[in-house]
Structures are given as C-alpha cells and as structure tokens.
C-alpha cells in the first residue's frame, strides 16, 4: 500500500499533487479504497484532504449554501442550513450507504466518482448547484451538470482539486422530494432515483419545477419537457401520469445486474406519482 500525505493547506495539497508520482486525492476513501482493492486503481501516493484547513466546512450566506468537498456526508445531512434550504440533498444523503459510509464518505468524493447512481447528484442538479475547482492557476467554477461528463468522468484537470459545491437557496415554500429505489432499504445502490423541487402556489398549481433522475442514463437525466408540462398545473394523479409518460421518454436507461432498462424506465415515470399534493393533514410518506 502506498504512503498517505497529510497537507494542512489547499496550496500545500496542490503543490504535492504537482510534485508526486501518480498521486490520488484521498477523501473518505469509501470509493477509492474499494477500487484499489479491486486493482482498478494503483495510486503511487495518497494526498489526504483530512487536515486541510477549511476543507470540511459547510457555510451559509444570505443567498447561498456552500459545502466544501471534504465535508462528511453525515455532517452535511444533519446541518441545520442544509435541512432548511437543501432538504432534497439531506434526504438523499440520509439514504446513502450506511452510518459508517456517511461518516467517512464526503460530498467531493461522491461528485468525483461521477456515478449515474451517485446519490448526491440528482439533488445537486435539481438545486442547480455549481462546483469550484482549485488548481495551480487558481479557481474555476462551473455548473455541476457541466462538470460531470460521463460515468466516472469529470472536467477536473490533472493537478486540480474539487474544492466546493454551492447552490442558491431555493425560494421559501419550495417542496423538496427525494426518493431512491434500490435493491434493499439501506446500503443499497440506486436502481432509479428522483430528486424534485417544486413550489405550489396557494391554488395548488406549481411554479418552478426542477426534476433530476439518477441511474437512468450515463449521467443524471433532466427533462425540460416534463418540467414545462407540469408548470402551472396542479399535481393531480392525471397530471402526474402525463408527466410520467414524458419522463419515460426522456430517460436513457440500460439493463444491468441490478435492474432491467424496462424497470428503470417505468419507475422513473412512476416516481412522479409521489408528488401528488397530499390530502389535508397527511404528510408525504416514503418507502
């Protein structure tokens, strides 16, 4: 096993990345060490984010939430600002892996893994999140949906570190919904997931809808057609069934050992049915 270096500042970390042979950034290690065990990655040296000042912070400004890449998932999901303004993300992280994985795993690691099944990604897309990358030449910013380029592929250049993700606080009154369909309740990799943000007006019609699906394409799938279809409509069963049909056309699922493409397509549409405006006094329940 290779050595692990513990830089204490971002600059030092960038410097080490530039100067070492075949380095790998080590955050929680919950993806990386699995790949090392499988022989899929053979880093020459690990550069840990663990002791870098500020790398684990979660910050709130008037308009924004900022999550540093090294923040552990368990802390993000329990953070009051995330609960208040990014509930869709908190809901997703609450069903990511297990307590052990959430204590070790980080948001940066989840984004970098760029898996279509990565549970933080649909919420980050729905929240229109942006990422900030640190490199020898300074910082670059881009929307998360541009950063993720394919399964396991990102726009991160060699020598760069993913520093943070940030999103604008959704307007008050926005509903947050996340659901993951996996092979079991906990410790389960998504077969299909849906993150949804929408704002019902007093008359029940929705303004501002964003939807993002996981595990139904090479990257997270968004569907402007479905969103447009739902705008200014009440979320009744009939309306949602219509949206489901559009969603099924938008997704590009494959069959693998976990699920058939057919299952994924059907469920991607079905999950919208959960957004039905609940009867008075009832809360949305989840499976």
């Amino acid at each position: 096993m290779a050595d692990v270096l513990f830089p204490v500042s971002l600059d030092q970390a960038l410097d080490l990345l530039a100067k070492t042979e075949a380095p790998a950034v080590l955050a929680g290690g919950t993806d990386l060490l699995v790949q090392v065990r499988q022989g899929k990655k053979t880093p020459g040296i690990f550069v840990s984010l663990d002791r870098i000042e500020g790398a684990q912070e979660i910050l709130e400004t008037e308009t924004e939430i900022i999550i540093r890449a090294g923040a552990p998932l368990a802390r993000i999901m329990a953070h009051p600002a995330i609960r208040d303004h990014g509930s869709v993300l908190a809901q997703a992280l609450a069903v990511l892996g297990s307590p052990q994985i959430r204590n070790m795993g980080t948001l940066g690691g989840n984004i970098m893994t760029a898996s279509p099944a990565g549970d933080s990604l649909p919420p980050l897309y729905a929240l229109d999140a942006r990422v900030q990358l640190a490199g020898p030449e300074g910082f670059r910013r881009m929307p998360v949906r541009d950063f993720i380029q394919g399964p396991g592929k990102t726009a991160l250049a060699p020598g760069e570190i993913l520093w943070q993700a940030n999103f604008t606080k959704p307007a008050p009154g926005t509903c947050h919904w996340f659901e993951k369909v996996g092979q079991r309740t906990a410790l389960s990799i998504s077969m299909v997931s849906l993150a949804a943000l929408f704002r019902p007006d007093p008359d029940g019609r929705v303004s501002k809808v964003s939807l993002a699906w996981g595990s139904v394409g090479p990257t997270i799938v968004e569907s402007p057609e479905t969103e447009t279809f739902l705008l200014n409509k009440p979320l009744t069963r009939e309306v949602l069934a219509g949206a489901g049909d559009l969603a099924r056309q938008a997704v590009r699922p494959i069959s693998d050992i976990r699920a058939t493409a057919d299952f994924r397509r059907q469920v991607a549409g079905n999950l919208l049915m959960r957004l039905e405006t609940p009867a008075k006094g009832k809360r949305l329940t989840r499976y």
Binding site: Q183, R184, A186, R258, F263, V267, L271, M273, Y287
Partner: protein, 777 residues
Amino acid sequence: MNTFLKTGPHGTAHPETAPPQIGLSQPRPDAAAKIRGTEKFTIDLPGKDDLWAGVKRAGIPHARLISIDTEKARALPGVAAVLTHQDIQGSNRQGVVRQDQPVLVDDRIRHCGDALALVVARDKTALGKALSLITFEAEVLPGIFSIEEALAEGAPVLHPDHETGNILLAGALTQGQGLDAFKACAWEVTISLTVPVQEHVCLETECGRAIFKDNRLFITASTQTPFRDRNETAQALGLSQDRVQVTAPFLGGGFGGKDGITVQTLLGLAALACPGKHVAMVWDREESFIASPKRHRANLSYRLGLLADGSFHALEARADFDTGPYDHLGGVVLALGLEHAGGPYAIPHTHIEGRAVYTNNPVGGAFRGFGVPQVTAAMEQVVDLAAKRVNLSPMEIRLKNCLTRGQKAPAGNTLARSTGIRECLAAVAAHPLWQGAGAWLKKAPAHTLRGCGLACAMHGMGFGPVVPDVAHAKLELTAQGRFRVYCGVSDMGQGNAATFLHIAGDLLCQPIDNIDLILPDTDQTLPCGSSSASRTTFTFAHALTRAAATLKERIVRRAADSLMVDDPEEFTLVPGELRHLTSGRAFPLAVMAGFMNPDERMAVSRYRAPTARDHVTDNKALKMHGVPHAIFSYTVHFARVEIDTLTGGIRVDRYLAATDCGRLINPALVEQQMHGAIAQGLGYALFEDFLTEGGQTLTRDLSTYIIPGALDLPPMELISVATREQDGPFGMKGVGEVGIDAPLACVANAVADACGKRPGTWPLTRVRMLALLKEKP
C-alpha cells in the same frame, strides 16, 4: 402449553453465578466475546503463520485439462511450493457420499471454481503474484448450465464413470394409488416454479491452518464436520486416519456451507509439502462465492387433487435439483426434499418424484433447510390455490388437512411421536395479528396493495434410517474440581455449545462459570457426527445427559464409600461442592477430585438417535440418502406484506411464527434460531439471487448479491407450541432449520393475496414484482 417468546433482554431473571435451569433463558457464555470481537476464530488463533496457501482456480466451466505450467510461479522468490494433482499421494477425491470431486483437477474441469494448483508462499503478495503466473492448457468442452440441458438427449456427460449419466440420483415415493387417485378427485390445482440458488454468506469465510510435524498432519478449520474431514483428508491425501488431527474452534457461521471439505484437503496438501511450517488459507468473499457450495436451484411442478369436501386426496410432486458438478450432498438434499414434498398434511395418495442432476454451475450442497424450503415453496402455494378453489380460508383448509399424531405423512412414514402442527395453526389463528388481518387489509395507503399469507412446514431431524446418527460425550471432573465438557460437534454460531454448558450446569447443579468447554478436536473429543440436520443438540445432549449421570453417581458413591455412608442419596452436588445432606457437611469438588484417579473422573457415553423403521420405498439409494425420518419439528408462519405498485417493492410488515420444536432448553436460543431462520428465509424469498451465466458467476460479491439488512426485516413474533418429544432430551426437538422452510411460501401466499398473481421465478425482487403487476391476469 404455549409459551410466548418475548423479544428483549434475556437472563435478567437469572444470576450468572447460579446454576442454569432447563427451560429458563440464559445468556450465551460466548456472547460477550463475540460482541466485543475478542472471540478467537480459526484464523485468529495464536500460531505463527510462516506461510500462506492459495488456489489457482479454473475460471472456465468445462474442459479437459491438458497441462499446467507452474514453472514461473515456482521460480518466484518467496514461493515455497507449487503443487498440482501430481503431488497428491492419495485418491485425490473428496465427497461425502460419492467421492467425485478432485482436490486438484487431474483430468476434467467441471466448474469455474475447480482448483487446479496450490501455491504456498511466504506472504500474500508473493502468493498473489505466483497464482497469476500459473497458466494451463485445456480443451474446452461444451457446458451444461441448466437442469434441462443436463437431461437433454446427447448432452455432454460430466462424469462418464457414473452409471446414470448426468442424473446424480433419481427417486420416487408412491403411496396409496399414486396418480390413479386423481380420477376420484373433484378438484385439481397445479403450480410450477423455480426457486433460486442461495449463497450462505457466512460472516467468516472458509479458512484454516495446518502443520505437518512429528509425522502427523494437524488441521484447524472452520468446519461443521471435523471427524468426517479427518477421514476424507486422510483418504484424499493418502495418510492413515490416526495421522490426521482436525480441530474446529467456534465458527463465524456455517448454515451448511461448511458441512464438508472446503480448505481442509488443500491445507493438508500444502502442509505436507512444507513440513514443520504453519500454513494458513483464507478465502476472500469473491473466492468463497465462486468455490463454495450453495443451496440448489430447483424446478418444481405440483398437482394437488381434492375431494368435494376439500380434503386432500392425491398429490403429484416433481422436484428437480441442480447439484452443480459434484455430489457434495446433492443426493441427500434431493431425498430430504422428496420426503417433505407433501408438507405436514394427510394425503392418502401421492406420487413424489425428483432428480438431482449434474451441471457445470457452481456446486450445490448443504444449506439450512436442505431441500425442504424448495418443496415447501410449491406445496404451500398449491394448498392456497386449493383453498381458493374449494372456497375455504387458508386457515380452514390447513386445519382440515393437517397431520395428526398416528397418521402417515405424505411419504408414507407413520408419525408416532410429538406432532404439533394443528396446535401451531390454532396458535396463529388465535393471535391478534391473524385476527386483525381483515381490518389491516382494508387500510392500504395509496399505491400499495396489502396481503396476508400463511404457510406450514415440517422438518425431519437427523440422518435418516441408515447413516448412524450418533454422538459421544465425554465429561470430566478436573483435578481442580471443575467440570469439563468435551464436545465433538461444532458450534457454527447457533449456540449449541452454550446449550451443552446449560445442560451440564443444570444436571450437575453448577454455575456455567464452573464448567469448561473443549471444542471439537479429533484427538481429544469423541466422534459426534456433523453439526447439521437439526440434530446437533438432540444427539449430543442425550450423550451428555448420560455422561453427567454416570459422573455424578461416581462422585457421590466415592464420597459415600470414603465416609462409610450407606445411602448415596444423602449426597448432592451444589455449586463447587458436594454436600452431605444429613450432616450438612460440604466437600469442595477439588477435594473430591483428589480422591479420584483420572480415569474415574472421566465419564464417556454414546447415544444413537431413534430411526424410522417404515418401509416407504424399495429404492435402496433413497433409503441410504436418508428417507424417512422419525422425529419432526413443525412451524406455521404468517406474514403481512405491502406491495408498492410504483416501484415493485415488497415490505414485510409483520411476521408471526408458531413452532413446535418440543420443549425449550434455553428459550433465548430458540428465539435466535427462529429470528435468523426467518431473516435468511425472507432473504431467499425477496433478495438473494445467485446468478450465473454460462457457469460464470455474475453476482461476484456483496454489492450485487443482496442479502437483507435490519431495515428490510419485519418485527417478528414467536410462539412456542411446546409439545414434549418423548425421545428428546428434556422433551426437545431440533429448531435449526424448520424456521427457514416456510418464509418464501408465506410471502408467496401473501403476495398472491395482495395482487392475485404468483411468479414463476424467485426471488421476488422489485424488478420481478413490477413485471408481475404488469402481467395480464
């Protein structure tokens, strides 16, 4: 007498310093070490690991081996030995019934997990490198990957020396008029289904260590069968039995997966090649998945005929099992499946037929339930279909047809002993969960379907009429005045060792702290048969009870003789002492031990479990493979399930099981067995699907082979219908397996209740459930 088992902490009623009492829950003495992680399992035992052994596996399912090139591996620094079949002196064959499995392939590769070569190296890095340097030449043969292919005309034959070709074993049991009786039936219902391969997923994978010194081979292994291993290893490697010693520390799970050879012969071979060196072997999860035996896939096809009044009249049952490339225990699994195919019902006319067939899939072998979960899956569904047809409730039809004591079981054997199935049904019928089912069904939330299911099962105990179901106990009063139980049967985690201490403590009136345990060791302990077949506690407990009586009497008589007291009844054992009741004087056991010579302080006893004498078949092979049994445990399961119509998810909401496993020695352990069995059974029903394609494993690790987690399991309520088995020690019967026989059937019936449909392929994953909902009725 119904005892309600309660979940929650046990043993609070009973201080650990007092002697345990039969029938009262007692914390397992091994619990603390297991929870703290301080238990010494096979691979944790002290001993210097000089060398590591590992296996080069075939990776192809069927081929004729031409040559193996080990030269590069041998030349690698750090490699102590590279061995092939040419290095084996003995028969190079292992197996319990048919010795058809090579230790190292000498001729034909029959599945991807077959072992081709063995490497012994200084460390794991060198080992891995060396294994990757071994190459081999083979002529690839067409493979057989399903039961149908194995039976097809002109199919390649896996074992040319086997008389019946790809059929390892076939058998039929016919009672009454057999199939002719269908003519008299007013109704007929049928079902066909396939149940999957299930992997044991023991927490502790297969592992062991060995050393060859002083001209003897010493093996420590995670095994359910230390005595059988000794014989098999000796034969395969060409040693006499007395030159092999096998010890079995506590196992981190077995479930049948360690009922037979895993690492033992390989380790023996490695140790022989490197005399004087400790050699260790551990399979990682991936290797365990590929190389270890699994629960057999089975194809089931049933027809049940009823008279107009709803009584069962005729049964036709067909069950075919995929045993993979080797017998392992496939024939015995088939036999037990056939014997139990008709469930706990009185059916006068039956024709039950089945085959275990060879394929190039992973090895099928022993797994908790041993053929019975498979057949129960079909029988209990056909019973529900029948109920619907004759307009009886699932409870009514079962109460009407279930076996009562004195009747013949569907295989033709007479149930002369405790038979509590009717009482189990009655206990479920009286339970609030059953009574409240109707109300619960009506309150299904949006996008959900609710259903309730019922299933019965019976499970025979022991090895059947031919193979001796024997245990020998040895009990010692040590020079220090402690007792020592020499237990020759493995504790794979089920807690039988704790029960032996419990029994010894009760009989000798000693707290468990005063009793030591010697785990299986072929040199020190006596043969006890395997830890399997729901017979482990039954058989050993009898032997132990006799040994305890002998030893107690010897101590008492010795005291009476020494003190010139006429009546030995004046003495009694109390914790740490022998008390003279008339005078009130007490003699520390250490003092008593001092009076006695070592032989006198040791008691030995043998017990053989009762066998069935019924002549139910002329088929000698079936009889040899264990048909029929004499003593059965019974269980009735009830489940409430909720199907999410949007995602196909099935949530088992509540679970109830009423079980007749005789009287309870330690209710806490019975509860643990039932909880575990139901959990594993629900895994079999809903999650666990060991997939292969062309003999290659697709579910290669725990990220794709899905076992249920705590959040997937329902609250379970357990009822004990404690009949008293007249031949059982303290009235008990086996409980290790019966709980896993019914969950799949129970879920199947609940799902059918919810949606009116029954899948042909199990487990019922979300993907299958959603597709089933879409199917036209």
